[in-house]
Symmetry: C2
Subunit: 298 residues, 2 copies
């Protein structure tokens, strides 16, 4: 496949998703910052703020290329002196604690004359775990996966549990989703197949978010729920700054800081040794934040 | 020197500092959490919350020892199968944006039968840079340094600029201070000297904080100052989670998470591509957050 065709389709995906999200939000519009990278390529960072549904979010497209620094090549475990990467990256933080934070990413990476691969995923971080919401979300993801390869949902869901994990808290970031990385074309899944799967994920994203966001968006909430939301956002910040490979790789290799850190919430909170009251919904939520939950079967 | 004597003195330092800070705050008291480490040693985590001056802070003592995991030895660049470490670590976030956040640490590390070293530092992170405050703070630090070694202030101040730096923002965390690490005993500075210097730093800490905190603590402030404080705390979180070696080493080697992350502020904020108005005090503050400012001479 031509990498330019992949980038063009991802760029169009960004347009579609932003349109769908603006319609879903009903109030705020995305603001676009086009940017160029001195070493090659650039992107379109689109952010949305203070909407009716979304408090702070971003839908970023980038297509970057250029020399691959030895340190970056080593970090990636590859030999090569140049790279090409394109993708769409999304994080949406809603006002309401009844609406989960969602993240999506699809990406293509290529070492010219060397290996190439696709990666991606969607995962959900509820403030309060709602089993029905989690089941619907995972079933929706499984349906997209099944159309690509009926064997891929289970390993990709395990991959999300392992990736979106805070080892110092022994907590998953949320109720998981799917995650996959460095999937190179094969006889079974040529590049066209892998590419189509990433596009299908991107196209499924707005409906998956709408399904997770709609039931709670207009429900009233109080200070207790807001406080818990801020504490859970603290965990989101911990994961993104201390562990997320995309964030760390981006910051360390001189990526565009504001585009990378658009993933952070508007506000976050920390309390020393905070423990929710036993038996509360907050405590129940914590108990669900572990690896290996079969959400489809819940 | 006997390591137990070092630990006993650091433990006493924690007591003195907590007493002095309670008197300075005038309202809140420290809460103590003693903890033990299964592999050896433990600590006393002391936190203070919602005081008259301090919004969230901690003064931690720890004395830990045990086997040194190969990954940890490699990260430290040393050969050895066991270690011993003791120290006092402080971070204080005040309510008022006119009061800077302060950090102090003194520490001793030993590989039994191998190398040993001292480290430490104090640095100040104002929400608004006040040149008089910065000058007084650095002069105070220089006085402590000069009593130890008249040559050490300048390199230790440079070390703080290099260490407390956010490369992805090209900003220093604050107006610096001093920082030093892995200073092994020498003919010029035997262990007793280095130890005495760390104790002197700890003893100087309460007065340095009082001097920086007192002018602003009772001054009124409004929403604009509070907003800027929250954004600057976002930077503090970015530094601590993404770069601070102590935090990262602690989290990666299974340290006590709540003791390590007591350094985080109560609340923090992020806004996409926030830029203060040109000519404002906020913009002036940003302009000061760079390496190599000679605060003594300002």
């Amino acid at each position: 496949m031509e990498r330019e065709a992949i980038a063009a389709r991802y760029r169009a995906l960004q347009d579609t998703i932003c349109m769908r999200l603006e319609a879903l939000d009903g109030m705020a519009r995305f603001q676009e910052d086009p940017w160029e990278r001195p070493e090659g390529g650039g992107g379109r960072t689109r952010t949305i703020t203070e909407g009716a549904l979304i408090e702070k979010g971003g839908v970023n497209f980038s297509e970057v290329h250029g020399p691959l620094a030895p340190a970056a090549a080593k970090a990636l475990g590859i030999a090569g002196e140049a790279f090409y990467a394109t993708g769409v990256s999304i994080v949406l933080h809603a006002h309401s604690p009844w609406v989960p934070t969602i993240h999506m990413n699809v990406r293509y990476f290529e070492v010219p004359g060397g290996p190439s691969w696709f990666g991606g995923g969607i995962d959900l971080t509820p403030v309060y775990v709602d089993i029905d919401m989690a089941r619907r979300f995972h079933r929706g993801l499984k349906a997209v996966c099944d159309r690509h390869d009926p064997q891929c949902y289970a390993p990709y869901a395990r991959w999300a549990d392992d990736y979106f994990f805070l080892p110092h808290r022994q907590e998953t970031r949320g109720i998981g989703g799917i995650f996959f990385d460095r999937i190179s074309p094969s006889a079974e899944h040529p590049a066209e197949d892998l590419f189509a799967f990433t596009v299908a994920l991107g196209e499924a994203f707005p409906a998956l978010y709408e399904e997770a966001a709609s039931p709670g968006r207009a429900q009233p909430f109080g200070q207790r729920e807001r406080d818990w939301q801020l504490l859970r956002r603290g965990r989101y910040v911990e994961f993104n700054l201390a562990y997320d490979r995309g964030t760390r790789f981006g910051l360390e290799t001189g990526g565009r800081t504001e585009s990378i850190l658009m993933s952070l919430p508007a506000d976050a909170r920390w309390r020393y040794d905070h423990r929710p009251e036993p038996g509360s919904w907050e405590a129940e939520t914590l108990a669900w934040l572990r690896k290996g939950v079969d959400w489809i079967a819940q």
